[in-house]
């Protein structure tokens, strides 16, 4: 059987989704696929473009990669435009002159930004906001600009305004209509959004019809409005809607709409045989869908068609939830109440700045639409009610209050059908989530990985979490969240008990809230909680028996029972004399030396009884314990920063020293790694750390919850351009919030992945102080900082503690079971066969 030649014109998000779909279905082998991409970059996540402004890395956004496409056996022609299409011969001709025959053709050419043809619209100061090169152009122009104007106050316009604000420009938004986001909001909602955005320093000009953009002699341009007013600025970004890219289709004589768009039927077929169109270039029932989710649905329909399966596109929900310039905005269905007989319920909370509106049908039975401004926590609940046409509760007005205020409101009680779509980006239904849980996924993170739900825009994470939790309960696998058989509490509950009741030892907690002896789960967990609350000496009499192998000897146990020793080297900065001492100690005690990833030196092969003597030497040389053995703050890695580096923007070593000296030894549910980079070159790899800081010309950007290791996770940007005091207060709050709420042995990355509400919620707690905890969290961290002690110094001052390092209780003999051999002029543990040989030689 010969392969079907499938040509895909366009490699945007929808085009990539189509390929991903073929791959997921395992049918790639039936096709010979060629992809034509006009942009030199392969498919990337355009929805997250503003993140590109924040992170500055195109890789973060990339969806498709050359390696991936190669692995899929797909031929990619990047930087190539298809110029003609001959639907008779089934041939397309590319800009490089090559011709390609196809059996099936999919047009996924997307859209282009509409630029109103006012005089001056094509001047050098004018930009659009659509592609990564567009953003690079805006970035470059912003370096010579003080102010910027976005023309268009819709959803994308406000995203663009955010980008200008982030670039430090005095930002204006010019809108033709009388309010912002006219497509999604009503008058009150638009008004409130405008007020909130103005409060953030963005100037909003409504009812302004731009008639000309006139270059000024001294540079910049003057916008001239129909009402005679003018506005001068250095940079203009058009965001006045999109237009379908249908030139190729027009040239080929396919049916197109009056105002553009390639006409498709329910099967996404164009007027020509074997030619499909999907995404923003396609016109279905006179509608263009400018969101990614409907495009994904079209892509699925085409895949079904290609495989000879029944499927149809039946329109798509255009509900949306976003955070615009930090303001939560959501719009569902018929938000404007245009349906005949529609009535509304409205809540305008001027005190908190919230506006909530429900649009219901004439009988008050079903939800037709909704608007949420300022607080969109009910979005996913309302969306489910709307999408599934669920009957409204007796008092629909209850739904106006967010779930936080009203846990028992109608929404929580209502049961979703299995067909309910939870994630519209990836079209994951409640049924899919339930079967994932039945198939063995036991956590929100597992389900996200398995189903891809909540990995698109992330707006459904709360709803997803609810379904996951209730499915787990339904299965009776209601994963008991008890810590272990000795404590019928979660780690967080135990933490709160210890804090609130002021419990100071494991014995106390066990006596008051537990049973039995305890175990290897609850002992280290409580030892860690106690240390996180009170920061006592961990080898004090009442604590020593609960410490895990490493904490009990303040060193890292190795496979042969010997230990490794890691002194703290704050920020990786070390005096020559200290380096000499490290070498001397290693030589004197016969230790294997290795440089760690955290910019310190690890000395291996120390016997238990050698540890006190080794530490005496190290303390004398000015070292402190490095807590490499603890679930605690490890290192703050840094680059040399502006002190030495010609590119350096900030003093990364100085900040890293301050951070390491502040947080050293703080015990937490799992280890914590930090890094500080002195510029965006990011030599300290801060974005793979629990806490990462990168210098900017205005201060510090704070990244959180990154991870290297087994499951790498790129850190999320929490806040930008912070001064050092604010930076430290945010880190204080974040760490204490993590310590308070994380599970045992949960790294910050999985903690965040599992946290219902995700990054937005962290932002609310840490930056906006929504829970009113900020002062308390900071005070708790300060108490830990004040209680810091070098555990090795304390240990050496206590003869009883030192005595515990003797290997045997009944003799001064040393442990003959630890046997070293030499390799590359250093010591290493003997393998079992080497040990046998050695013992035979001795015998």
């Amino acid at each position: 059987m010969s392969l079907t030649r499938l040509a895909l014109v366009g490699n945007g998000m929808v085009g990539h989704h189509l390929l991903q779909n073929l791959a997921d279905q395992g049918v790639l082998a039936q096709f010979a696929i060629t992809v034509f991409s006009e942009e030199p970059l392969l498919a990337y996540d355009r929805v997250q473009l503003t993140k590109y402004m924040e992170h500055g890395s195109a890789e973060d956004l990339s969806l498709g990669s050359m390696a991936q496409y190669q692995a899929w056996g797909i031929e990619v022609k990047a930087g190539v435009v298809i110029e003609t299409l001959d639907t008779e011969q089934q041939v397309i001709t590319a800009s490089d002159g090559t011709q390609h025959k196809y059996d099936q053709l999919v047009l996924a050419t997307g859209s282009y930004p509409f630029v109103p043809p006012v005089p001056g619209h094509d001047g050098p100061a004018c930009h659009v906001y659509r592609t990564i090169p567009d953003l690079d152009g805006i970035k470059a122009a912003a370096t010579r600009a003080r102010s910027g104007v976005v023309i268009g106050g819709g959803l994308l316009g406000l995203e663009a305004a955010k980008a200008l604000v982030d670039l430090g420009l005095d930002t204006h938004v010019v809108e033709f209509a009388d309010r912002l986001m006219i497509q999604q909001l009503d008058a009150e909602g638009g008004e409130l959004l405008g007020a909130k955005i103005r409060a953030l320093g963005v100037k909003v000009h409504t009812q302004k019809n731009t008639q000309a953009i006139v270059p000024l002699q001294e540079g910049g341009v003057q916008l001239q409005f129909a009402d005679g007013e003018v506005l001068e600025t250095d940079l203009v970004v058009f965001s006045a809607g999109i237009r379908p890219r249908d030139q190729l289709a027009r040239q080929a004589g396919l049916s197109v709409g009056e105002r553009g768009g390639i006409v498709i039927n329910d099967q996404c077929q164009t007027s020509a045989a074997n030619v499909y169109a999907v995404g923003e270039c396609a016109l279905w029932q006179q509608r263009i869908f400018g969101l990614v989710a409907p495009g994904y649905q079209m892509a699925k329909v085409v895949v079904s068609q290609l495989l000879g399966q029944e499927a149809g596109f039946s329109g798509a929900d255009m509900s949306t939830k976003l955070k615009l310039l930090g303001v939560d905005v959501a719009s569902i269905g018929d938000a404007q109440g245009r349906t005949e007989g529609a009535k509304s319920y409205r809540l305008f909370d001027e005190y908190h700045g919230h506006y909530h509106k429900l649009v219901v049908d004439a009988k008050g039975e079903h939800l037709l639409g909704a608007i949420l401004v300022g607080d969109a926590t009910q979005y996913s609940d309302l969306l489910q009610i709307y999408l599934n046409r669920m009957s409204l509760p007796e008092h629909p007005e209850m739904l106006l209050w967010s779930a936080d205020d009203n846990a028992d409101s109608g929404v929580g009680q209502m049961v979703l059908p299995d067909s309910a779509t939870i994630c519209s980006c990836h079209n994951v239904t409640k049924g899919d989530v339930v079967s994932a849980v039945q198939g063995g996924c036991c956590s929100l993170a597992d389900v996200k990985q398995q189903t891809r739900a909540a990995t698109g825009c992330g707006g459904c994470v709360q709803a997803l979490n609810n379904v996951v939790q209730s499915s787990l309960q339904d299965l009776g696998m209601e994963v008991s969240s008890d810590l272990c058989e000795h404590f019928a509490y979660t780690r967080q509950e135990l933490y709160d008990l210890v804090r609130v009741e002021g419990l100071k030892s494991f014995a106390e907690v066990l006596q008051q809230h537990g049973q039995g002896l305890g175990c290897e789960i609850c002992k280290p967990t409580l030892a860690s909680i106690l240390a996180s609350c009170w920061n006592d000496y961990v080898l004090a009499g009442e604590h020593v028996a609960q410490q895990d192998s490493n904490d009990r000897y303040l060193a890292n146990i190795q496979k042969d029972g010997s230990y490794s020793v890691v002194p703290r080297v704050p920020a990786g900065e070390i005096k020559p004399q200290q380096l000499i001492v490290l070498g001397e100690v290693a030589q004197e005690f016969g230790l294997y030396s290795k440089i760690t990833g955290g910019q310190r030196v690890d000395l291996f092969g120390a016997r238990q009884e050698q540890l006190p003597a080794i530490w005496q030497r190290l303390l004398d040389a000015g070292f402190e314990t490095g807590h490499a053995y603890g679930k605690s703050v490890r290192t703050v890695k840094s680059c040399v920063g502006s002190t030495w580096c010609r590119y350096g923007v900030g003093n990364s070593v100085g900040l890293a020293l301050d951070l390491e000296n502040r947080y050293k030894g703080v015990r937490s549910p799992h280890k914590l790694k930090f890094a500080v980079s002195g510029c965006t070159r990011e030599c300290a790899e801060a974005q793979s750390k629990d806490i990462g800081v990168i210098a900017t010309d205005k201060g510090w950007n704070l990244y959180i919850c990154g991870n290297g290791g087994m499951r790498p996770r790129h850190a999320d940007l929490l806040a930008t351009d912070l001064d050092q005091a604010t930076l430290i207060s945010y880190i204080d709050r974040l760490l204490m919030f993590y310590i308070k709420t994380a599970d045992r042995l949960q790294r910050t990355s999985t903690w965040l992945e599992n946290l219902a509400g995700g990054l937005d919620y962290v932002r609310q707690v840490v930056i906006e102080d929504k829970l009113g905890l900020a002062t308390q969290l900071e005070a708790q961290m300060q108490a830990l900082v004040d209680a810091y002690q070098c555990e090795w110094r304390t240990t050496l001052a206590d003869p009883q503690a030192v005595a515990r390092f003797q290997p045997f209780v009944n003799t001064q003999a040393s442990d003959s079971s630890i046997v070293m051999v030499s390799e590359r002029e250093q010591m290493r543990p003997a393998t079992s066969s080497e040990r046998i040989n050695l013992f035979q030689e001795i015998a």
Binding site: C519, Q546, K559, D560
Partner: protein
């Protein structure tokens, strides 16, 4: 006929309540445990059978229902304090010996040295 003899190892106040210490008798390393709630003494072999390291005395002790155990400090396999039987693998057991405390001295009953 049993030829075991009780050998004094150390004073009880040299033990660490609810944790272990190691002792050396001849060539053999022992792990001594004291469970304070029940004032009971236990002696197991100090050799972790999974890794071959002499570390069992450094493990954490706990209980699963009625069964008291020590968990290896290296890879956390659990062994019954009474019998030395592994709780995770039927095929594995640590040697174990009776222990007692007489006049403050902890004694272990080892088979008569051959």
């Amino acid at each position: 006929m049993s030829t075991q003899q009780w050998i004094p190892v150390c004073h009880e106040n040299q033990l660490l309540p609810d944790a272990g210490v190691a002792a050396l008798l001849g060539e053999r390393q022992l792990a001594l445990f004291y469970v304070s709630a029940k004032q009971q003494f236990f002696v197991l072999d100090n050799l972790d059978p999974v890794t071959g390291a002499q570390v069992m005395a450094r493990g954490l002790i706990g209980n699963q229902g009625e069964q008291w155990y020590v968990a290896s400090p290296l890879l956390k396999q659990r062994y019954c304090l009474h019998s030395g039987q592994s709780l995770d693998d039927d095929q594995v057991a640590l040697p174990s010996w009776p222990a007692r405390c007489i006049n403050g001295m902890v004694e272990v009953a080892l088979p008569e040295a051959a």
